[in-house]
Structures are given as structure tokens and as C-alpha cells.
Subunit: 138 residues, 3 copies
């Protein structure tokens, strides 16, 4: 069985980090799939998904880490060519990757106690985002 769901988000950009765990949990429940996987995919080149303990300290630290690793004020060939100022957004998204896959066991998303699913919008402006959930299994 394959069931496709979408999550619609309003994101502010600039490494805006959103907890999407409850939406993913709800989609898995609605899918009727008991055991399998959910692949969470960003159809975008300036956003990503991963997991984290969703508390303000970790979020602040993660934002600073991305700023240190891939500075938003650095020189990027992408910006010189296209003038949209989001060269760093593309690099951060490529580095983190577009997808994660989480097991579903007895209709439950198999997350740790302190582990939440996050969507990160690395782009430089607010925008509407649609994430794809591909839920597969029995």
C-alpha cells in the first residue's frame, strides 16, 4: 500500500525551524498503514528536514551552527549570477539533504522521546511550502 499526503506550511525563511511531528503523526494515522515507513521529502532546493530535540536552546544553537558553517553574508557565485541572495540557502539545504525516512510500527511513528521532526526553511523570504509524505507498508 502506498499513500501520499501533503503538509502545507507558512514559513518565514532565514533558517525558520518548524516542528512538523504532529502533522506527520496525523498523516500516518489517516493513511491506515500499520507497519512500514514514511518518507518526508522537501520538493525544494532551499529547505530540508531532519530531527532534533525541539526546545529553544537547541534551535538557537542549530541556527548559529548553520551561520558559522555557511554564512548568510559570505560571497557566493550563485548570488553574483542570479542576484537573489540565497546562495547560502542552497548550500545549507544540499548539505542537510531533502529527505528522511522514519519507520511506522503498529501505526506509531517510531521517534525517540526527545526527538521531533523539523522542517527548516533556509530561503531568505517568507513563503508557502508544501512537503510530501510518502507512506508505504501494510
Amino acid at each position: 500500500m502506498v499513500n501520499t499526503k501533503y503538509i502545507q506550511l507558512q514559513a518565514r525563511g532565514n533558517t525558520d525551524i518548524l516542528d512538523i511531528s504532529s502533522q506527520v503523526t496525523a498523516a500516518v494515522r489517516e493513511s491506515g498503514i500499520n507497519d512500514g515507513t514514511v518518507t518526508i521529502f522537501c520538493p525544494s532546493s532551499t529547505s530540508s528536514v531532519t530531527t532534533i530535540e525541539f526546545e529553544s536552546g537547541c534551535l538557537q544553537d542549530l541556527t548559529r551552527l548553520f551561520e558559522e558553517m555557511v554564512s548568510s553574508t559570505g560571497d557566493y557565485a550563485h548570488n553574483y549570477r542570479w542576484g537573489d541572495g540565497n546562495g547560502h540557502s542552497h548550500l545549507r539545504a544540499s548539505l542537510l539533504g531533502p529527505s528522511i525516512t522514519i519507520p511506522i510500527i503498529e501505526r506509531q511513528l517510531c521517534l525517540g522521546t526527545w526527538q521531533q521532526v523539523i522542517f527548516i526553511d533556509f530561503d531568505v523570504r517568507a513563503r508557502s511550502r508544501r512537503i510530501v509524505l510518502q507512506i508505504m507498508g501494510d
Copy 2:
């Protein structure tokens, strides 16, 4: 067909890197699935999985890289708030991600000759860990 297996590990923390290839290979064989995928997932916000050539040089280099990128002695908002000293562990785990998915072809895990599956425990203390393997296919 969907088959769930678990790998139980004793990890020492502090970027302890464990080769779990033989456990994953054994689980795939026991599953009875000939062709499909195994998703390896860490239900934790301070550990990750990836692949590497498992030899002491690469392991030493990887440990040093994480120390350079996300220092264990840096200032982290997470630590100020919770006092558990594992702010860097959370960041390293988020950056590397909680899951990888490996094809299974004719009951074999499709790894390269010099490629092993590793679990990395980024937390700051020894602990017991359980990794989830979701094996799917025909």
C-alpha cells in the same frame, strides 16, 4: 512485506563509532526479504547512522572533523538551559540525520567493498541504544 528488527548496542558516547554492518546483514537475511530496502533509523536526538570505510584512520579523522565543526567545549544555549552538557551532541546528530536507506538485492545488502554501516553515539555518557531496522520488499 514489512519486517521490523532491532539492534541493541552498548555505546560509550562522546562520538563512539560502532560498525553495525554484520548486525544489519544478519537482520536482512533473517527477514526473508529478497529484494527491497532496509531503513536504519535512530530513535534518538543524540545519535546517527551513516556509512564509512571502517578503519582506524577514517574513524580518527571523522571524530576530529566533528570536534572541529561542532566543538564539544563550545557555548550552547541548550547547555545553559538544561545543564546536561550535550548541546553539541544534538547538533551533530541533527546535521548527520537519523536515517539511511540501503537497497537489498537478492538477499544481499548492497554495500560497496570498503563501505560499512556505522552508528555514532554523540551523547556524553555511556548508554544502551536500540536502533530500528525497517525491512521492506518482496
Copy 3:
């Protein structure tokens, strides 16, 4: 349904970045699978897959980012031990990871408008590469 395909590439190494979107799209179409996922996997410890906007600015920026994060001229224990000079290649590949999974919806690969699938060869010499596509679904 499970369908395995391979992509054969000639890569130059040294963070050679190749757009494999059209090969992945063709493989998905040939598989006959309408809805599901394709897992793209590098059976190698010195190459990776991710997505990016495939334009020369982003590619130049990504190459520079890897050089800054994991220098090709740094000291690596792997190189001292094995003398093959690709210690940085192993680290970059482990960090980026060996796999991504992309949803297939109505026979289409679910990519964003400006999002391409890339293979990156981090090794230090030209070589022939084979990537595995595991296509699963209905």
C-alpha cells in the same frame, strides 16, 4: 513491486558533481511503478547523492564549501596509514551520506522546479561509478 535499476557514470573525482536527474526519471518511467519511492544509493565510501539547483554558481559554491569544511590538503590519519590521499573524500561522503529517497507520484519523480538530483564523486581520481536505484511501490 520492487524494481532495481543502475546508473553507470564516468566521474572525474575531486568533488566532480553530476546531474543524474534525467537518468533517475527515465529509470522510474521504465520501472512501471506509478506511486512509491526511489532510493538512490552510492555503494561506495567516497561518493554521495543529494539535491541542488544545478547551475554553475551553486556548484562552484558547493565545491568551495566542502573545501572549507573538509580541506583536501589537511592532515588525515587515513592518508598516513594507507597513502592513497583520499582521507578528505571519505569524510565528505560520510557527512553527506550514501542515500536519498524521493517520492514517485503518478509516475513522476516528485522534485521541485529548481531541484536536481546530483551525484558527487569525492575521490581523488577519475573512475567508473555505478549507482543503485531501488524503486518500490504500486
